[in-house]
């Protein structure tokens, strides 16, 4: 994996000027101070924060030890995201702060003796380089040719800087690599998205249906807590998954579906609900559009037909449909979160949305509630310049229903193509390790190779930093302020993140980086504030609070403005769709040239000797960002490869044996992965947790641990509706000997 112009540079130890001072602050963690049998808990200082280990952003309290350094982080009792209980990653977030491998000072790519290396730089030097390039790009190509990839809280401020500079191209992998199809499908159906945190009323549901969503392994905290409450109250869980997931083991029904056939099951459920008359007739009549079209559309999708596709017996399909109908409207066909699987994902999620409508669960207790959040004004700034071009111009009308900027679309228009007007020339990448985030690594590297500047702002020396021209070390969330967390929830709620300790090394918060860079770019009028405390206090004053108050309470709840958590039975309601109704038949999809009703498409199955690569989450890790966190690695140090015993026998694989993987495009994994022989997986697929197999040597705990699923995902099925990258059509086989390579990745 090499690019021509841009060599991957390993951030080597000798360049880390502050290395000598590393690791003196947390002796207790290595056991070298006198042990207190009962830790002294006379702590008087605790500061509020919200977590940055994942997107759920639970509010918590950081407690310091008697040495004044961070001891532990606990959930905030008043926060509905966590109800006083952080998940394992949030609890272990401490490890991000103490990580010795952190980026410590700015670095600039220079050429020395014909070799590209990183040179330690001051912040001023780094800003000069970035601003110089950005000004040149704005002059030569237009400011629209710089894009920001962000998956962290600092992105809010960097986004402001980029908009002030004149570019609309701010993107997050959370759309086209994750929840995008779900948002687009629900917009098409209900005129509203599912949002984050999801508006699922799990705590009061009587039937929770999970389609490949493995709650409990993905620790989306509030949802996992509510699933547990639902179990306590005796709710029926139906889990559709080729793998016996944790959720499957808690379920009344586990449907071990043949991979890639979920849409057949969803259509058959519609067929049963409609033909048996088990749908919510009054709700459908009052609120929906296109029922007759839907009814005739699903006639051929019988349970008997679906059996042939899914391997789920017709009786089970009928029984589970009845189970849902009995619970209606307190039933949730869960929309999932990471849903970019097969390239027809918007259609599959449309089927999920339609099923919920048939069962009358949208806007009903135990189904989907209507969340509310308060409005917090932006700190006053001049209007942004109007961008003259969009990357969409270069995509010639593709992905027309995308509601956010498509990360792989930005990648696509960065790679030069003849006759293309708008080529992206510069990337700023914040808090997302694109090498492990975007599928089809070859395409990512081609795009990177075409860039005139790549700026990476991160806390850790992730793979992406190796391709950067300038690296800026961001401090961790425990050392900084960020924007107010303003969540849509049952009640509006806000949360403050403030620094518990000063930033380690020469790292800086995202807001400071954005402001300083903005000033060097000549955009100081957009940053007319002294520091972020002034901004936060002004914003909080507008909503009847203050920074002083929030520092004390951390979380503040507000009364709902509207009494509409659920749809009122006797009230007319106009949905935000073309027809004002819930669109079973989507006029918006039809207008854009897509199937207005979801149609079953058969997907390819693995060739002989190959297995579908399924991937998922560990409760202890987030994406690829936690694989070096000491506290989390202590529990789960690497991923393993789940293999059915029949398959293992055929290949002569043993439990605990390390194998390399090769995919359908003859790509092999950099590192071997440990085989876990388990009955919990079907014989036609293998499974691993995403985010391991790091090739960046400076990640001392993560380097070479486990295999990277992203590396195996070279075949991407792009969703024509919104540009999502379907990643579950890759097939792998086992190599018991290390493959010979012509080229070794660093």
């Amino acid at each position: 994996m090499k690019t021509t112009r841009r060599d991957f540079i390993k951030i080597s130890g000798t360049m880390l000027g502050t290395a000598a001072t590393m690791g003196v602050a947390f002796d207790w963690a290595t056991g070298s101070v006198t042990h207190e049998a009962f830790p002294i808990s006379t702590h008087t200082t605790r500061t509020p924060t919200y977590c940055e280990v994942c997107f759920w952003k639970c509010a918590g309290w950081v407690t310091k030890n008697d040495q004044g350094d961070i001891w532990k982080i606990e959930g905030h009792e008043a926060d509905p995201h966590c109800n006083g209980r952080l998940c394992p990653r949030g609890t272990g977030g401490v490890g991000m702060y103490y990580d010795n491998d952190r980026l410590k000072h700015p670095m600039i790519r220079v050429e020395e003796g014909g070799k590209q290396v990183f040179k330690k730089a001051s912040w001023d030097e780094a800003f000069e380089v970035i601003a110089g390039k950005m000004k040149a790009i704005a002059q030569e190509y237009g400011p629209e040719c710089v894009a920001l990839f962000t998956h962290g809280s600092g992105g809010k401020f960097l986004g402001h800087m980029l908009k002030a500079y004149g570019s609309p191209h701010i993107t997050a992998p959370s759309f086209a690599q994750c929840r995008g199809p779900r948002e687009v499908a629900f917009y098409a159906t209900y005129g509203e998205g599912v949002l984050s945190p999801e508006r699922t009323d799990i705590r009061d549901t009587r039937c929770l249906v999970l389609i490949g969503s493995h709650l409990g392994e993905n620790m989306h905290n509030g949802q996992v807590q509510e699933m547990s409450q639902a179990i306590d109250k005796g709710a029926a869980i139906i889990t559709v998954d080729p793998r016996f997931s944790t959720a499957a083991s808690k379920s009344k029904y586990w449907l071990p579906i043949k991979p890639a056939t979920d849409l057949a099951l969803l259509l058959a459920w519609m067929n049963v609900l409609i033909n048996e008359g088990w749908y919510d007739k009054a709700y459908v009549e009052k609120h929906t559009y296109g029922f007759e079209q839907l009814k005739s559309h699903v006639q051929s999708y019988t349970p008997e037909w679906a059996y042939g596709m899914t391997t789920i017996e017709p009786k089970i399909i009928r029984d589970t449909a009845k189970e849902m109908a009995n619970a209606s409207p307190a039933v949730i066909i869960h929309p999932g979160r990471h849903v970019t699987w097969y390239g027809d994902d918007t259609q599959r999620l449309r089927a999920v949305a339609i099923l919920n409508a048939l069962l009358g669960s949208w806007g009903r207790r135990g189904g989907f509630y209507n969340p509310e959040r308060i409005s917090i004004p932006d700190f006053p700034h001049p209007p942004y310049p109007t961008p003259k071009r969009s990357y969409l111009d270069a995509l010639e009308g593709k992905y027309s229903l995308a509601t956010e900027v498509i990360s792989n679309g930005i990648c696509e228009v960065t790679t030069p193509a003849p006759g293309r007007d708008c080529n992206i020339k510069g990337w700023i990448v914040n808090g997302t390790n694109l090498i492990h985030t975007l599928p089809d690594q070859k395409a990512t590297l081609e795009a990177i190779d075409a860039l005139e500047i790549l700026v990476v702002i991160d806390t850790m020396p992730m793979e992406i930093t190796g391709y950067a021209d300038v690296i800026l070390p961001e401090c961790t969330y425990l050392e900084r302020y960020d924007a107010i967390r303003n969540s849509p929830h049952r009640e509006p709620v806000i949360s403050l993140r403030m620094p518990a300790v000063a930033p380690k090394y020469d790292s800086k918060p995202g807001w400071w980086i954005a402001k300083q860079l903005g000033v060097v770019l000549g955009l100081e009028k957009y940053f007319a504030f002294r520091d972020i405390e002034e901004v936060l206090d002004w914003q909080l004053q507008q909503v009847g609070s203050s920074l002083e108050e929030m520092k004390k309470i951390g979380v503040k709840k507000f009364k709902r403005e509207y009494n509409d958590l659920y749809l009122a039975e006797e009230q007319e309601f106009e949905f935000n769709t073309n027809t004002g109704k819930i669109e079973l038949y989507s006029t918006e999809m039809a207008r854009a040239g897509f199937d207005p009703l979801p149609r079953y498409t058969e997907h390819e199955q693995p060739p002989a000797g190959y297995y579908r690569l399924n991937y998922g989450r560990s409760p202890v890790h987030t994406f690829s960002r936690t694989a070096n966190n000491e506290n989390l690695v202590d529990v789960v140090p690497e991923n393993d490869l789940w293999v059915n015993p029949k398959v293992a026998k055929q290949w002569g694989l043993e439990n605990g044996q390390y194998v390399w993987l090769k995919n359908q495009d003859n790509i092999t994994t950099d590192f071997p992965i440990k085989v876990r022989i388990t009955e919990r997986i079907r014989w036609d697929s293998v499974y691993m947790v995403h985010g391991f197999g790091h090739a960046a040597k400076k990640l001392s705990r993560a380097f070479g641990k486990g295999a990277s699923d992203t590396q195996m995902i070279s075949h991407v099925k792009t969703d024509p509706v919104m540009g999502g990258t379907g990643m579950r059509s890759n097939f792998v086989t086992f190599l018991q000997e290390e493959p010979s390579r012509e080229e070794v990745t660093s």
Binding site: R85, T246, S249, R682
Partner: protein
């Protein structure tokens, strides 16, 4: 007073939050732990069952580790909590060998360490760290001698099992099944 813990295996998702919260609360060195998760799978695809258990010291009413300790470092405190006094422990490891649950480990500083039921928190009226962090609320801690305590009610109402009772230890972790 008899402190005990009930663990609801129907709700536990095996996330290890208890393990990590314990390590941080009690400053357990990285690489060691006072509690752990057991994942137990039975059956063949697709007829499967899976149980997660959050396990730790069973704070046995008849603790073999206390009986075999030559220095008295292993002892029983209020509510039947089994503790080790680091200053009195010579690190001989007899207790580690005697524990049927493998609940003790040799601390790198030369004494034996184990779960304390977070007695330092309990004395302040708080729950043990593992109990108060658990996202699924599957851990219940309290006084089994008080019939109105949550742990008593859970043990009374629910089917449950204890582990290795044949060892004669009278363990005080109750796994709700």
């Amino acid at each position: 007073m008899r402190y005990a813990m009930a663990i609801d295996t129907k709700k536990c998702v095996g996330c290890s939050d208890c393990v990590i919260a314990c390590q941080l609360e009690n400053q357990v060195p990285v690489g060691y732990c006072r509690e752990w998760i057991v994942e137990s799978v039975s059956g063949t695809y697709p007829h499967l069952a899976l149980e997660f258990r959050s396990e730790r010291c069973h704070h046995c009413a008849k603790p073999p580790c206390v009986r075999c300790c030559p220095t008295g470092a292993s002892h029983v405190e209020e509510g039947g909590v089994v503790l080790v006094e680091p200053g009195q422990c010579i690190g001989c490891g007899a207790c580690i060998a005697s524990c049927p649950y493998d609940a003790r480990y040799p601390h790198p500083e030369g004494y034996v360490d184990k779960c304390t039921f977070c007695i330092h928190r309990v004395r302040e009226g708080k729950q043990p760290a593992c109990v108060s962090v658990c996202p699924t609320h599957c851990l219940y801690f309290g006084d089994l001698d008080d019939p109105n305590s949550e742990v008593s009610r859970k043990v009374a109402e629910r089917k449950h099992k204890r582990l290795k009772t044949e060892a004669g230890t009278d363990p005080q972790l109750y796994f709700l099944t």
